[in-house]
């Protein structure tokens, strides 16, 4: 029998509250809970947003308009906890098409409860869209998270098709190429999209083996769900 362990695309156990973070998740979290928590942890990196989260009080639900996915963010006592579903005591509900959030022409989310909880709604809108950098910076940040995984390609060349610029991540020889617009590259590198799905949908292009396509897809899910 062949030996040697298959590379896990989802190896690390979930950290319910990573060191230094005020953002926790429920036990056995759903994907959308992990994604929301990862977004909030990114917001924590901006001092102003971190302060907004610490000072917030109330419950905000994020609900998909196209499937049953939903999560509730509970702000209070200087901490944040993300749980599955729309809680009965939700103050603000944000409804959005989760499949189109990365699109440039994504429909605007609908917010219910903002009139009576304006401050909470404003906090939620800010922390759920933390600042992001230029695509090159986000690419380097993404790479720093995934490069040590044993099945990540050694070198990845990224071509931005609308800015006509490119960078190489990792070392030569380049084993894989990713092509796409600055917007789609940024969405990928910030954990907003799943690489394989982006390629299947024609938003990004790939040059390389299916093995590397699959492994990079796994890494993109890891980054999206906060496992890397």
């Amino acid at each position: 029998m062949v030996t040697g362990r298959a590379g896990a695309w989802y190896e690390a156990p979930v950290q319910t509250a990573p060191t230094g973070s005020i953002v926790e998740t429920e036990d056995d979290p759903t994907p959308i809970v992990l994604i929301v928590a990862t977004t909030l942890r990114r917001a924590e990196e901006t001092p102003k947003l971190a302060a907004m989260m610490r000072n917030a009080k109330g419950n905000v639900a994020l609900r998909s308009t196209v499937d049953p996915q939903a999560a509730t963010i509970r702000f209070g006592d200087g901490r944040v906890c993300v749980v599955r579903g729309v809680a009965a005591d939700t103050d603000v509900t944000i409804s959005t098409d989760v499949n189109r959030m990365a699109d440039e022409d994504a429909p605007k989310p609908k917010v219910a409860g903002a009139a009576t909880h304006a401050r909470l709604a404003l906090t939620a809108s800010k922390v759920l869209e933390p600042p992001i950098g230029p695509w090159r910076d986000e690419a380097r940040r993404f790479w720093a998270r995934i490069e040590h995984h044993p099945r990540t390609p050694r070198g990845v060349h990224v071509v931005c098709t609308d800015e006509r610029s490119q960078i190489t991540l990792g070392v030569e020889p380049v084993e894989f190429e990713i092509h796409g617009t600055a917007h789609r590259l940024t969405a990928l590198f910030t954990g907003g999209t799943v690489f394989g799905q982006e390629v299947l949908d024609g938003h990004l292009y790939a040059v390389g083996s299916l093995e590397h396509l699959a492994e990079l897809t796994g890494r993109s899910i890891d980054v999206m769900t906060g496992r890397l």
């Binding site: 029998m1 062949v2 298959a6 695309w9 056995d28 994907p31 959308i32 049953p68 394989g196 897809t217």
Partner: protein, 457 residues
């Protein structure tokens, strides 16, 4: 049978077509229909088949989030190596033979994610330690009067059980309604050389249980795979549908209980008169208990599996063992020398028999190797206990996968490459549920589960 004897055998039985049968990780039976000349020409390595048969989920979506060493850089073939000991004339189709196959690579080496190969690997380790095992499965299924096409159109909802709606088991009133189905099933199983020990009506409306005779572990698993396939085909041909889904409705679920026994030098290892267990038995059961959480990943492989794991519904809910205790995960029957055995009761009807038995045996071997002592037995009902009295078995596909990943002894026994791939597939199943329409807040079986598992699990 040797490869050289195959042409003569095909002549003797007037075989024109050979149906190759392999089993995927999700228990799907996959293969090809080969003309006799092609089949004979491909021996001994067997015919090529796309590697996707081990590379897609039960819903047909390719696993596009990790890779493995046995897969080609792009997309390639693997091979179905026939086990010629399983070559048999098809009882349902003139001029056809069926043969079970292992997945191998181009060189003929075993592929670590082949379920049949995983069991062979574990049995090799058992034999190296001087033991031989036998096993027998209890197959539970639910039979509905509806025809397959109509059931598909209704997404397997609101079907009519082939029995009274009253959930009482062992009713001959129900058995009589199922007789035409069971008679034809047993006729075909006889033709395949699979001996049925008995069958009966079971607790859920339309549920029946078929018990297969004990045999060599590989043969026992082969029999389950073939029996389930026959049951699906007979139901379809008679205008009905059958499911092995762990929990297709709010009624009792479908289990796949497996009994195993060990012998050493011909003597039954599990025989323990007066409850005096040998160190071997203690360590074996200790191994099963130490890996109880990890074993659940194989025993309960789908999102739906965990709906079956509720109290007072025949499925165990806590990690426990007990002498003749049907509420325990591990039921020990040790007082009769010829019937001394262990019944593992966690597995659902949706489990892959090769992986369930391989993991149970590997856990026992790990217990022997580590001289694992067993915890106290459960002498009371395993259902309705206050929290914390006995550890609860994993309650989700992700928790079971986490437990398996952390179980180094079981992983070593099954093969790290296989376990890594399997754990990824279970996390993928979790991802598919949540991102393709499954409702994690639902307290009852969802349309997503019925669509995904009813027909194929």
């Amino acid at each position: 049978m040797e490869a050289a004897a195959v042409p003569g055998w095909l002549d003797e039985h007037d075989v024109r077509w050979v149906k190759t049968e392999s089993v995927s990780l999700d228990g799907l039976v996959v293969g090809k229909h080969l003309g006799r000349a092609k089949f004979a020409k491909m021996l001994p390595r067997g015919n090529a088949i796309t590697e996707l048969v081990l590379g897609y989920d039960i819903g047909g979506t390719p696993y596009l989030a990790w890779w493995d060493a046995w897969r080609a850089d792009a997309l390639g073939d693997i091979y179905q190596r026939p086990d010629l000991d399983t070559l048999v004339v098809a009882p349902d189709r003139a001029g056809t033979a069926n043969v079970l196959c292992d997945f191998v690579d181009e060189s003929g080496a075993a592929i670590p994610s082949c379920p049949r190969g995983v069991l062979r690997h574990v049995l090799g380790g058992l034999a190296d330690r001087g033991f031989a095992a036998r096993a027998a499965f209890e197959i539970e299924a639910m039979l509905f009067t509806d025809a397959l096409e109509g059931a598909r159109r209704r997404h397997f909802a609101d079907l009519t059980p082939m029995a009274t709606n009253v959930p009482v088991g062992y009713l001959h009133h129900n058995s009589r309604q199922q007789l035409a189905f069971v008679d034809e099933t047993i006729r075909r199983l006889d033709g395949l050389g699979i001996e049925v020990e008995g069958w009966h009506d079971e607790a859920a409306p339309g549920q029946l249980e078929i018990n297969l005779v004990p045999s060599d572990p590989l043969v026992a698993c082969d029999a389950v795979v073939r029996a389930k396939q026959v049951m699906r085909e007979v139901a379809m041909e008679q205008g009905h549908v059958v499911t092995f889904m762990a929990k297709p409705s709010a009624e009792y679920g479908n289990g796949l209980h497996v009994h195993h026994s060990l012998t050493r030098d011909g003597e039954p290892v599990f025989y323990a008169p007066d409850g005096a267990m040998s160190p071997t038995v203690r360590h074996w059961i200790g191994g099963l208990m130490a890996s109880a959480d990890a074993l659940t990943s194989f025993a309960c492989p789908t999102i739906n599996s965990y709906r079956r794991m509720v109290g007072f519904a025949a499925a165990p809910t806590v990690a426990s063992w007990g002498e003749d205790n049907k509420s325990a995960a591990i039921r020990v029957l040790s007082i009769e020398p010829k019937a001394a055995r262990i019944e593992y009761r966690v597995a659902g009807g949706d489990a892959n028999p090769y992986l369930v038995l391989a993991s149970v045996l590997a856990a026992g071997v790990a217990g022997l190797d580590a001289a694992t002592e067993l915890p106290p037995p459960i002498a009371v009902s395993g259902w309705g206990l206050p929290p914390g009295r006995f550890p609860h078995l994993p309650t989700s596909i992700t928790r079971a996968a986490d437990a398996l990943e952390a179980d180094t002894g079981l992983t070593a026994g099954l093969g790290p490459a296989f376990v890594g791939f399997w754990v990824n597939t279970r996390r993928w199943e979790w991802l598919m549920f949540h991102t393709t329409g499954g409702d994690p807040m639902a307290t009852a079986v969802t349309p997503w589960e019925l669509d995904r598992y009813f027909e194929l699990a």
